[in-house]
Symmetry: C2
Subunit: 276 residues, 2 copies
Protein backbone atom coordinates (compact mmCIF):
# COMPACT_ATOMS: atom_id res chain seq x y z
CA UNK A 1 0.00 0.00 0.00
CA UNK A 2 1.17 3.52 -0.77
CA UNK A 3 1.47 6.04 2.07
CA UNK A 4 -1.03 8.31 0.26
CA UNK A 5 -3.65 5.55 0.39
CA UNK A 6 -3.12 5.20 4.13
CA UNK A 7 -3.37 8.96 4.70
CA UNK A 8 -6.50 9.18 2.56
CA UNK A 9 -8.10 6.37 4.56
CA UNK A 10 -7.25 8.18 7.80
CA UNK A 11 -9.05 11.32 6.65
CA UNK A 12 -12.00 9.36 5.33
CA UNK A 13 -12.57 7.40 8.54
CA UNK A 14 -11.34 10.22 10.81
CA UNK A 15 -9.25 7.63 12.55
CA UNK A 16 -5.63 6.56 12.87
CA UNK A 17 -6.45 3.60 15.06
CA UNK A 18 -4.59 0.32 14.64
CA UNK A 19 -6.21 -2.71 16.26
CA UNK A 20 -3.67 -5.20 17.57
CA UNK A 21 -4.83 -8.76 16.91
CA UNK A 22 -3.05 -10.35 19.89
CA UNK A 23 -5.48 -13.23 19.97
CA UNK A 24 -5.16 -15.44 23.02
CA UNK A 25 -7.19 -18.66 23.40
CA UNK A 26 -7.22 -18.12 27.16
CA UNK A 27 -8.88 -14.72 26.85
CA UNK A 28 -11.38 -15.07 24.00
CA UNK A 29 -15.03 -15.86 24.83
CA UNK A 30 -15.36 -19.51 25.79
CA UNK A 31 -18.19 -20.25 23.34
CA UNK A 32 -15.74 -19.68 20.44
CA UNK A 33 -13.62 -22.62 21.53
CA UNK A 34 -16.18 -24.91 19.88
CA UNK A 35 -15.38 -23.41 16.48
CA UNK A 36 -13.11 -25.33 14.12
CA UNK A 37 -10.61 -22.40 14.16
CA UNK A 38 -11.37 -20.31 17.27
CA UNK A 39 -8.57 -17.79 16.62
CA UNK A 40 -9.81 -17.03 13.12
CA UNK A 41 -13.45 -16.97 14.26
CA UNK A 42 -12.53 -14.41 16.91
CA UNK A 43 -10.44 -12.29 14.53
CA UNK A 44 -13.16 -12.30 11.88
CA UNK A 45 -15.77 -11.13 14.39
CA UNK A 46 -13.44 -8.41 15.71
CA UNK A 47 -12.60 -7.22 12.20
CA UNK A 48 -16.25 -7.04 11.19
CA UNK A 49 -17.08 -5.11 14.36
CA UNK A 50 -14.20 -2.63 14.22
CA UNK A 51 -13.15 -2.05 10.61
CA UNK A 52 -15.22 1.14 10.28
CA UNK A 53 -13.28 2.72 13.14
CA UNK A 54 -9.72 1.72 12.36
CA UNK A 55 -7.27 1.98 9.47
CA UNK A 56 -4.86 -0.81 10.39
CA UNK A 57 -4.69 -4.29 11.92
CA UNK A 58 -1.57 -5.60 13.59
CA UNK A 59 -1.38 -9.31 14.45
CA UNK A 60 1.48 -9.91 16.87
CA UNK A 61 3.11 -12.95 15.30
CA UNK A 62 4.16 -14.44 18.65
CA UNK A 63 0.52 -15.13 19.50
CA UNK A 64 0.18 -17.27 16.37
CA UNK A 65 3.61 -18.88 16.45
CA UNK A 66 2.92 -20.08 20.00
CA UNK A 67 0.23 -22.41 18.60
CA UNK A 68 2.56 -23.92 16.00
CA UNK A 69 1.17 -24.93 12.62
CA UNK A 70 -2.41 -24.36 13.75
CA UNK A 71 -1.48 -20.79 14.69
CA UNK A 72 0.09 -20.13 11.30
CA UNK A 73 -3.07 -21.44 9.63
CA UNK A 74 -5.16 -19.01 11.67
CA UNK A 75 -2.82 -16.15 10.71
CA UNK A 76 -2.98 -17.09 7.04
CA UNK A 77 -6.79 -17.24 7.14
CA UNK A 78 -6.93 -13.89 8.93
CA UNK A 79 -4.73 -12.26 6.29
CA UNK A 80 -6.68 -13.84 3.44
CA UNK A 81 -9.87 -12.55 4.99
CA UNK A 82 -8.49 -9.02 5.43
CA UNK A 83 -6.96 -8.82 1.96
CA UNK A 84 -10.13 -10.11 0.32
CA UNK A 85 -12.74 -8.18 2.27
CA UNK A 86 -10.90 -5.05 3.42
CA UNK A 87 -7.99 -4.47 1.03
CA UNK A 88 -7.97 -0.75 1.90
CA UNK A 89 -6.84 -1.52 5.45
CA UNK A 90 -3.12 -1.31 6.26
CA UNK A 91 -1.72 -4.53 7.73
CA UNK A 92 1.25 -4.84 10.08
CA UNK A 93 3.08 -8.07 10.90
CA UNK A 94 4.34 -7.31 14.39
CA UNK A 95 7.21 -9.75 14.11
CA UNK A 96 10.25 -7.78 15.32
CA UNK A 97 12.49 -9.77 12.99
CA UNK A 98 16.00 -8.96 11.81
CA UNK A 99 18.81 -11.08 10.38
CA UNK A 100 21.63 -10.78 7.85
CA UNK A 101 21.02 -10.03 4.18
CA UNK A 102 19.90 -13.29 2.54
CA UNK A 103 18.01 -14.37 5.61
CA UNK A 104 16.19 -11.05 5.93
CA UNK A 105 15.06 -11.49 2.34
CA UNK A 106 13.44 -14.77 3.39
CA UNK A 107 11.58 -13.13 6.26
CA UNK A 108 10.54 -10.37 3.87
CA UNK A 109 9.13 -12.94 1.45
CA UNK A 110 7.30 -14.71 4.27
CA UNK A 111 5.50 -11.56 5.38
CA UNK A 112 5.24 -9.46 2.21
CA UNK A 113 4.60 -12.23 -0.32
CA UNK A 114 3.35 -15.43 1.34
CA UNK A 115 1.13 -13.58 3.84
CA UNK A 116 0.78 -10.32 1.86
CA UNK A 117 1.24 -7.91 4.77
CA UNK A 118 1.79 -4.21 3.98
CA UNK A 119 4.46 -3.86 6.63
CA UNK A 120 6.55 -5.64 9.23
CA UNK A 121 8.21 -4.53 12.47
CA UNK A 122 12.00 -4.96 12.54
CA UNK A 123 14.63 -4.72 15.30
CA UNK A 124 17.56 -2.45 14.33
CA UNK A 125 20.41 -4.09 16.29
CA UNK A 126 22.04 -5.79 13.28
CA UNK A 127 22.11 -2.58 11.22
CA UNK A 128 21.84 -1.65 7.57
CA UNK A 129 22.17 -5.00 5.81
CA UNK A 130 19.53 -6.53 8.08
CA UNK A 131 16.98 -3.81 7.23
CA UNK A 132 17.57 -2.94 3.57
CA UNK A 133 16.40 -6.33 2.20
CA UNK A 134 12.94 -5.52 3.59
CA UNK A 135 13.06 -2.04 2.02
CA UNK A 136 13.52 -3.49 -1.46
CA UNK A 137 9.81 -4.35 -1.72
CA UNK A 138 7.76 -1.66 -3.45
CA UNK A 139 4.70 -0.39 -1.60
CA UNK A 140 5.76 -2.38 1.47
CA UNK A 141 7.02 -0.79 4.68
CA UNK A 142 9.47 -1.50 7.47
CA UNK A 143 8.44 -0.32 10.92
CA UNK A 144 11.76 -0.08 12.76
CA UNK A 145 11.89 -0.32 16.55
CA UNK A 146 13.16 3.03 17.81
CA UNK A 147 11.87 3.67 21.34
CA UNK A 148 9.72 0.88 22.72
CA UNK A 149 7.14 1.22 25.49
CA UNK A 150 8.56 -1.36 27.89
CA UNK A 151 10.80 -0.83 30.91
CA UNK A 152 13.71 -2.60 29.18
CA UNK A 153 13.84 0.29 26.68
CA UNK A 154 16.03 2.07 29.24
CA UNK A 155 18.66 -0.71 29.12
CA UNK A 156 20.09 0.39 25.78
CA UNK A 157 17.72 2.56 23.71
CA UNK A 158 17.99 5.66 25.88
CA UNK A 159 21.72 5.31 26.58
CA UNK A 160 23.86 7.98 24.94
CA UNK A 161 26.07 7.20 21.95
CA UNK A 162 28.33 10.17 21.25
CA UNK A 163 26.05 12.68 22.95
CA UNK A 164 22.78 11.34 21.57
CA UNK A 165 20.55 8.50 22.69
CA UNK A 166 20.76 5.20 20.81
CA UNK A 167 17.14 5.46 19.58
CA UNK A 168 17.97 8.82 17.96
CA UNK A 169 21.07 7.29 16.38
CA UNK A 170 18.79 4.56 15.02
CA UNK A 171 16.47 7.18 13.52
CA UNK A 172 19.31 9.17 11.95
CA UNK A 173 21.28 6.20 10.64
CA UNK A 174 18.20 4.51 9.18
CA UNK A 175 17.46 7.63 7.11
CA UNK A 176 20.61 6.81 5.12
CA UNK A 177 19.36 3.30 4.26
CA UNK A 178 18.36 2.45 0.68
CA UNK A 179 14.66 3.21 0.08
CA UNK A 180 14.41 4.84 3.51
CA UNK A 181 11.15 6.52 2.45
CA UNK A 182 9.56 3.12 3.14
CA UNK A 183 10.53 3.34 6.82
CA UNK A 184 8.17 3.91 9.71
CA UNK A 185 9.10 3.70 13.41
CA UNK A 186 7.80 2.20 16.64
CA UNK A 187 7.65 4.81 19.40
CA UNK A 188 6.07 3.98 22.75
CA UNK A 189 3.33 6.31 23.93
CA UNK A 190 4.44 6.01 27.54
CA UNK A 191 7.16 8.46 26.53
CA UNK A 192 5.03 11.00 24.64
CA UNK A 193 7.26 13.97 25.36
CA UNK A 194 10.11 12.16 23.60
CA UNK A 195 8.05 12.56 20.43
CA UNK A 196 9.06 16.20 20.11
CA UNK A 197 12.74 15.29 19.67
CA UNK A 198 11.84 12.40 17.40
CA UNK A 199 9.87 14.73 15.10
CA UNK A 200 12.96 16.89 14.71
CA UNK A 201 14.74 13.91 13.14
CA UNK A 202 11.86 12.30 11.22
CA UNK A 203 9.33 15.11 10.70
CA UNK A 204 6.95 13.25 8.37
CA UNK A 205 7.59 9.52 8.92
CA UNK A 206 4.72 7.43 10.18
CA UNK A 207 5.07 6.42 13.82
CA UNK A 208 3.40 3.31 15.18
CA UNK A 209 2.54 4.11 18.77
CA UNK A 210 1.74 1.25 21.13
CA UNK A 211 1.03 1.79 24.77
CA UNK A 212 -2.01 4.08 24.65
CA UNK A 213 -4.61 2.86 27.12
CA UNK A 214 -3.61 -0.31 29.00
CA UNK A 215 0.07 0.68 29.04
CA UNK A 216 -0.70 4.20 30.24
CA UNK A 217 -0.11 6.69 27.42
CA UNK A 218 -2.38 9.64 26.63
CA UNK A 219 -3.77 10.08 23.11
CA UNK A 220 -3.86 13.86 23.46
CA UNK A 221 -0.19 14.01 24.41
CA UNK A 222 0.81 11.70 21.58
CA UNK A 223 -0.99 13.96 19.10
CA UNK A 224 0.34 17.16 20.65
CA UNK A 225 3.96 16.06 20.29
CA UNK A 226 3.78 13.53 17.48
CA UNK A 227 1.26 14.54 14.81
CA UNK A 228 2.72 15.54 11.45
CA UNK A 229 1.21 17.39 8.47
CA UNK A 230 0.33 14.04 6.88
CA UNK A 231 -0.92 12.86 10.32
CA UNK A 232 2.02 10.43 10.54
CA UNK A 233 0.56 8.43 13.42
CA UNK A 234 -0.90 4.99 13.86
CA UNK A 235 -1.97 4.50 17.46
CA UNK A 236 -2.41 0.91 18.50
CA UNK A 237 -4.80 -0.63 20.97
CA UNK A 238 -4.94 -4.38 21.51
CA UNK A 239 -6.31 -5.79 24.77
CA UNK A 240 -8.54 -2.79 25.52
CA UNK A 241 -10.55 -3.51 22.37
CA UNK A 242 -10.21 -7.28 21.92
CA UNK A 243 -11.17 -8.21 25.46
CA UNK A 244 -13.67 -5.44 26.24
CA UNK A 245 -16.12 -8.24 27.02
CA UNK A 246 -15.84 -12.00 27.24
CA UNK A 247 -19.57 -12.51 26.78
CA UNK A 248 -21.62 -13.38 23.71
CA UNK A 249 -21.58 -9.72 22.71
CA UNK A 250 -17.77 -9.41 22.74
CA UNK A 251 -17.73 -8.02 19.20
CA UNK A 252 -20.26 -5.30 20.03
CA UNK A 253 -18.24 -4.34 23.09
CA UNK A 254 -15.08 -4.20 20.95
CA UNK A 255 -16.88 -1.97 18.44
CA UNK A 256 -17.93 0.40 21.24
CA UNK A 257 -14.34 0.69 22.50
CA UNK A 258 -12.97 1.23 19.00
CA UNK A 259 -15.62 3.82 18.23
CA UNK A 260 -14.85 5.73 21.45
CA UNK A 261 -11.18 5.95 20.47
CA UNK A 262 -12.10 6.90 16.90
CA UNK A 263 -14.21 9.79 18.20
CA UNK A 264 -11.28 11.09 20.25
CA UNK A 265 -9.10 10.77 17.17
CA UNK A 266 -11.58 12.74 15.06
CA UNK A 267 -11.21 15.61 17.55
CA UNK A 268 -7.42 15.47 17.27
CA UNK A 269 -7.57 15.37 13.46
CA UNK A 270 -9.84 18.42 13.58
CA UNK A 271 -7.10 20.33 15.42
CA UNK A 272 -4.65 19.42 12.65
CA UNK A 273 -6.89 21.07 10.04
CA UNK A 274 -7.36 24.18 12.17
CA UNK A 275 -3.60 24.46 12.57
CA UNK A 276 -2.68 24.16 8.90
CA UNK B 1 19.95 -29.53 28.25
CA UNK B 2 22.42 -28.70 30.98
CA UNK B 3 25.69 -26.97 30.08
CA UNK B 4 27.60 -29.91 31.60
CA UNK B 5 25.94 -32.27 29.12
CA UNK B 6 26.99 -30.04 26.25
CA UNK B 7 30.58 -29.80 27.52
CA UNK B 8 30.74 -33.54 28.04
CA UNK B 9 29.51 -34.15 24.48
CA UNK B 10 32.18 -31.75 23.16
CA UNK B 11 34.95 -33.72 24.86
CA UNK B 12 33.50 -37.05 23.78
CA UNK B 13 33.22 -36.09 20.10
CA UNK B 14 36.27 -33.80 20.15
CA UNK B 15 34.13 -31.25 18.38
CA UNK B 16 32.34 -27.99 19.07
CA UNK B 17 30.85 -27.81 15.60
CA UNK B 18 27.31 -26.55 15.10
CA UNK B 19 25.73 -27.33 11.74
CA UNK B 20 23.38 -24.60 10.54
CA UNK B 21 20.31 -26.12 8.88
CA UNK B 22 19.64 -23.22 6.50
CA UNK B 23 17.80 -25.45 4.09
CA UNK B 24 17.00 -23.82 0.78
CA UNK B 25 14.88 -25.58 -1.86
CA UNK B 26 16.85 -23.80 -4.57
CA UNK B 27 20.15 -25.23 -3.35
CA UNK B 28 19.38 -28.80 -2.31
CA UNK B 29 19.99 -31.64 -4.77
CA UNK B 30 17.26 -31.67 -7.38
CA UNK B 31 16.38 -35.34 -6.95
CA UNK B 32 15.07 -34.55 -3.45
CA UNK B 33 12.34 -32.32 -4.85
CA UNK B 34 10.38 -35.48 -5.69
CA UNK B 35 10.13 -36.32 -1.99
CA UNK B 36 6.88 -35.56 -0.16
CA UNK B 37 8.79 -33.18 2.21
CA UNK B 38 12.08 -32.28 0.48
CA UNK B 39 13.30 -30.00 3.30
CA UNK B 40 12.89 -32.72 5.92
CA UNK B 41 14.37 -35.37 3.60
CA UNK B 42 17.44 -33.17 3.12
CA UNK B 43 17.77 -32.35 6.84
CA UNK B 44 17.44 -36.01 7.82
CA UNK B 45 20.16 -37.05 5.37
CA UNK B 46 22.45 -34.24 6.56
CA UNK B 47 21.87 -35.13 10.22
CA UNK B 48 22.60 -38.80 9.64
CA UNK B 49 25.78 -37.92 7.76
CA UNK B 50 27.13 -35.33 10.19
CA UNK B 51 25.91 -36.12 13.73
CA UNK B 52 29.13 -37.92 14.67
CA UNK B 53 31.14 -34.78 13.95
CA UNK B 54 29.00 -32.05 15.51
CA UNK B 55 27.41 -31.27 18.88
CA UNK B 56 24.67 -28.86 17.80
CA UNK B 57 22.19 -28.17 14.99
CA UNK B 58 20.89 -24.70 14.28
CA UNK B 59 17.93 -24.29 11.92
CA UNK B 60 17.61 -20.66 10.88
CA UNK B 61 13.87 -20.13 11.30
CA UNK B 62 13.63 -17.69 8.37
CA UNK B 63 14.35 -20.52 5.94
CA UNK B 64 11.30 -22.42 7.22
CA UNK B 65 9.01 -19.43 7.75
CA UNK B 66 9.58 -18.41 4.12
CA UNK B 67 7.68 -21.54 3.02
CA UNK B 68 4.68 -20.82 5.26
CA UNK B 69 2.83 -23.72 6.88
CA UNK B 70 4.74 -26.29 4.83
CA UNK B 71 7.99 -24.83 6.18
CA UNK B 72 6.77 -25.05 9.78
CA UNK B 73 5.82 -28.68 9.21
CA UNK B 74 9.33 -29.42 7.94
CA UNK B 75 10.82 -27.68 10.99
CA UNK B 76 8.57 -29.63 13.36
CA UNK B 77 9.50 -32.92 11.70
CA UNK B 78 13.19 -32.04 11.84
CA UNK B 79 12.97 -31.27 15.57
CA UNK B 80 10.96 -34.45 16.25
CA UNK B 81 13.58 -36.43 14.40
CA UNK B 82 16.47 -34.83 16.29
CA UNK B 83 14.84 -35.13 19.71
CA UNK B 84 13.90 -38.76 19.10
CA UNK B 85 17.08 -40.04 17.47
CA UNK B 86 19.80 -37.72 18.80
CA UNK B 87 18.56 -36.27 22.10
CA UNK B 88 22.17 -35.67 23.21
CA UNK B 89 22.62 -33.00 20.52
CA UNK B 90 22.13 -29.35 21.46
CA UNK B 91 19.52 -27.56 19.33
CA UNK B 92 19.39 -23.85 18.54
CA UNK B 93 16.40 -22.02 17.07
CA UNK B 94 18.13 -19.21 15.19
CA UNK B 95 15.11 -16.96 15.40
CA UNK B 96 16.50 -13.61 16.61
CA UNK B 97 13.23 -12.87 18.37
CA UNK B 98 12.53 -10.30 21.07
CA UNK B 99 9.35 -8.64 22.31
CA UNK B 100 7.85 -7.35 25.55
CA UNK B 101 7.22 -9.60 28.55
CA UNK B 102 4.00 -11.52 27.82
CA UNK B 103 4.77 -11.76 24.15
CA UNK B 104 8.30 -13.04 24.76
CA UNK B 105 6.78 -15.77 26.91
CA UNK B 106 4.77 -16.87 23.87
CA UNK B 107 7.84 -17.02 21.67
CA UNK B 108 9.60 -18.95 24.44
CA UNK B 109 6.75 -21.47 24.53
CA UNK B 110 6.79 -21.81 20.74
CA UNK B 111 10.50 -22.70 20.68
CA UNK B 112 11.12 -24.34 24.07
CA UNK B 113 7.87 -26.26 24.46
CA UNK B 114 6.06 -26.72 21.12
CA UNK B 115 9.27 -27.38 19.18
CA UNK B 116 11.43 -28.46 22.15
CA UNK B 117 14.59 -26.55 21.21
CA UNK B 118 17.37 -26.27 23.81
CA UNK B 119 18.02 -22.64 22.99
CA UNK B 120 16.93 -19.66 20.92
CA UNK B 121 18.77 -16.59 19.58
CA UNK B 122 17.41 -13.26 20.85
CA UNK B 123 18.01 -9.61 19.84
CA UNK B 124 18.83 -7.41 22.85
CA UNK B 125 17.42 -4.05 21.69
CA UNK B 126 14.29 -4.14 23.87
CA UNK B 127 16.25 -4.91 27.04
CA UNK B 128 15.69 -6.84 30.23
CA UNK B 129 11.95 -7.57 30.14
CA UNK B 130 12.22 -8.86 26.57
CA UNK B 131 14.95 -11.37 27.52
CA UNK B 132 14.09 -12.56 31.04
CA UNK B 133 10.89 -14.40 30.02
CA UNK B 134 13.08 -16.73 27.94
CA UNK B 135 15.47 -17.20 30.87
CA UNK B 136 12.69 -18.54 33.09
CA UNK B 137 12.81 -21.96 31.41
CA UNK B 138 15.02 -24.45 33.24
CA UNK B 139 17.71 -26.19 31.17
CA UNK B 140 16.92 -23.90 28.24
CA UNK B 141 19.25 -21.17 27.00
CA UNK B 142 19.08 -17.72 25.44
CA UNK B 143 21.78 -16.92 22.90
CA UNK B 144 21.83 -13.13 22.90
CA UNK B 145 23.11 -11.22 19.87
CA UNK B 146 26.20 -9.33 21.02
CA UNK B 147 28.50 -8.73 18.03
CA UNK B 148 27.19 -10.11 14.77
CA UNK B 149 29.29 -11.04 11.73
CA UNK B 150 27.61 -8.77 9.18
CA UNK B 151 28.70 -5.35 7.95
CA UNK B 152 25.68 -3.69 9.64
CA UNK B 153 27.16 -4.63 13.02
CA UNK B 154 29.15 -1.40 12.75
CA UNK B 155 25.97 0.72 12.56
CA UNK B 156 25.23 0.43 16.28
CA UNK B 157 26.93 -2.54 17.98
CA UNK B 158 30.45 -1.10 17.86
CA UNK B 159 29.43 2.49 18.64
CA UNK B 160 30.53 3.72 22.04
CA UNK B 161 28.07 4.18 24.89
CA UNK B 162 29.79 6.01 27.74
CA UNK B 163 33.29 4.94 26.70
CA UNK B 164 32.42 1.33 25.87
CA UNK B 165 30.98 -0.26 22.74
CA UNK B 166 27.28 -1.13 22.71
CA UNK B 167 27.97 -4.87 22.38
CA UNK B 168 30.05 -4.74 25.58
CA UNK B 169 27.25 -2.85 27.31
CA UNK B 170 24.91 -5.64 26.16
CA UNK B 171 27.24 -8.27 27.65
CA UNK B 172 27.60 -6.41 30.96
CA UNK B 173 23.95 -5.47 31.36
CA UNK B 174 22.70 -8.95 30.46
CA UNK B 175 24.81 -10.43 33.27
CA UNK B 176 22.45 -8.67 35.71
CA UNK B 177 19.36 -10.35 34.21
CA UNK B 178 17.45 -12.97 36.20
CA UNK B 179 18.89 -16.47 35.56
CA UNK B 180 21.73 -14.96 33.55
CA UNK B 181 23.66 -18.24 33.90
CA UNK B 182 21.38 -19.47 31.10
CA UNK B 183 22.79 -16.86 28.70
CA UNK B 184 25.08 -17.53 25.77
CA UNK B 185 26.12 -14.96 23.16
CA UNK B 186 26.44 -14.63 19.38
CA UNK B 187 29.87 -13.31 18.42
CA UNK B 188 30.91 -13.14 14.77
CA UNK B 189 34.16 -14.87 13.87
CA UNK B 190 35.06 -12.21 11.34
CA UNK B 191 36.07 -10.17 14.38
CA UNK B 192 38.09 -12.82 16.23
CA UNK B 193 40.39 -10.36 17.98
CA UNK B 194 37.34 -8.79 19.65
CA UNK B 195 36.97 -12.10 21.49
CA UNK B 196 39.77 -11.16 23.86
CA UNK B 197 37.81 -8.20 25.24
CA UNK B 198 34.61 -10.23 25.29
CA UNK B 199 36.25 -12.94 27.39
CA UNK B 200 37.17 -10.30 29.98
CA UNK B 201 33.45 -9.62 30.49
CA UNK B 202 32.04 -13.15 30.08
CA UNK B 203 34.97 -15.49 30.82
CA UNK B 204 33.04 -18.76 30.83
CA UNK B 205 29.83 -18.12 28.86
CA UNK B 206 29.27 -20.16 25.72
CA UNK B 207 29.74 -18.16 22.54
CA UNK B 208 28.01 -19.13 19.31
CA UNK B 209 30.39 -18.13 16.54
CA UNK B 210 29.04 -17.86 13.00
CA UNK B 211 31.17 -16.70 10.13
CA UNK B 212 33.93 -19.32 10.11
CA UNK B 213 34.57 -20.49 6.55
CA UNK B 214 32.27 -18.88 3.95
CA UNK B 215 32.18 -15.58 5.87
CA UNK B 216 35.95 -15.53 6.29
CA UNK B 217 36.82 -16.18 9.95
CA UNK B 218 39.69 -18.42 11.09
CA UNK B 219 39.05 -21.31 13.50
CA UNK B 220 42.51 -21.03 15.00
CA UNK B 221 42.04 -17.33 15.78
CA UNK B 222 38.63 -17.92 17.28
CA UNK B 223 40.09 -20.58 19.58
CA UNK B 224 43.15 -18.51 20.44
CA UNK B 225 41.08 -15.57 21.64
CA UNK B 226 37.80 -17.19 22.57
CA UNK B 227 38.27 -20.62 24.12
CA UNK B 228 37.42 -20.90 27.81
CA UNK B 229 38.28 -23.55 30.41
CA UNK B 230 34.92 -25.25 29.70
CA UNK B 231 35.60 -24.77 25.95
CA UNK B 232 32.76 -22.21 25.79
CA UNK B 233 32.56 -22.21 22.01
CA UNK B 234 30.11 -23.44 19.43
CA UNK B 235 31.40 -22.69 15.97
CA UNK B 236 28.79 -22.77 13.24
CA UNK B 237 29.07 -23.75 9.62
CA UNK B 238 26.04 -23.83 7.34
CA UNK B 239 26.47 -23.55 3.58
CA UNK B 240 30.01 -25.00 3.53
CA UNK B 241 28.65 -28.30 4.86
CA UNK B 242 25.07 -28.38 3.53
CA UNK B 243 25.94 -27.59 -0.06
CA UNK B 244 29.33 -29.27 -0.34
CA UNK B 245 27.84 -31.18 -3.27
CA UNK B 246 24.55 -31.03 -5.13
CA UNK B 247 24.91 -34.54 -6.50
CA UNK B 248 23.47 -37.85 -5.32
CA UNK B 249 26.28 -38.12 -2.78
CA UNK B 250 25.54 -34.73 -1.13
CA UNK B 251 25.34 -36.34 2.32
CA UNK B 252 28.72 -38.02 1.96
CA UNK B 253 30.24 -34.73 0.83
CA UNK B 254 28.68 -32.97 3.83
CA UNK B 255 30.11 -35.63 6.15
CA UNK B 256 33.58 -35.12 4.67
CA UNK B 257 33.38 -31.36 5.25
CA UNK B 258 32.08 -31.77 8.80
CA UNK B 259 34.77 -34.35 9.59
CA UNK B 260 37.51 -32.04 8.28
CA UNK B 261 36.32 -29.27 10.63
CA UNK B 262 35.99 -31.74 13.51
CA UNK B 263 39.60 -32.83 13.02
CA UNK B 264 40.77 -29.20 13.20
CA UNK B 265 38.68 -28.77 16.34
CA UNK B 266 40.23 -31.86 17.94
CA UNK B 267 43.64 -30.20 17.51
CA UNK B 268 42.39 -27.01 19.19
CA UNK B 269 40.83 -28.98 22.05
CA UNK B 270 44.16 -30.76 22.49
CA UNK B 271 45.85 -27.39 23.06
CA UNK B 272 43.30 -26.61 25.78
CA UNK B 273 44.30 -29.72 27.72
CA UNK B 274 48.01 -28.99 27.33
CA UNK B 275 47.42 -25.48 28.67
CA UNK B 276 45.44 -26.50 31.73
Amino acid sequence: MKIEQLVSQIHQKKSFLCVGLDTDLEKIPQHLLQEEDPIFAFNKAIIEATHEYCVAYKPNIAFYEAYGIQGWKSLERTMDYLNTNHPEIFTIADAKRGDIGNTSTRYAKAFFETLNFDSVTIAPYMGRDSVEPFLDFEDKHVILLALTSNQGAFDFQTKKIGGEELYKEVLRTSKTYRNSERLMYVVGATKATYLEGIRQIVPESFLLVPGVGAQGGSLQEVCQYGMAQNVGLLVNSSRGILYASQGLNFAGAAADKAKAIQLEMAVELGKLHQGS
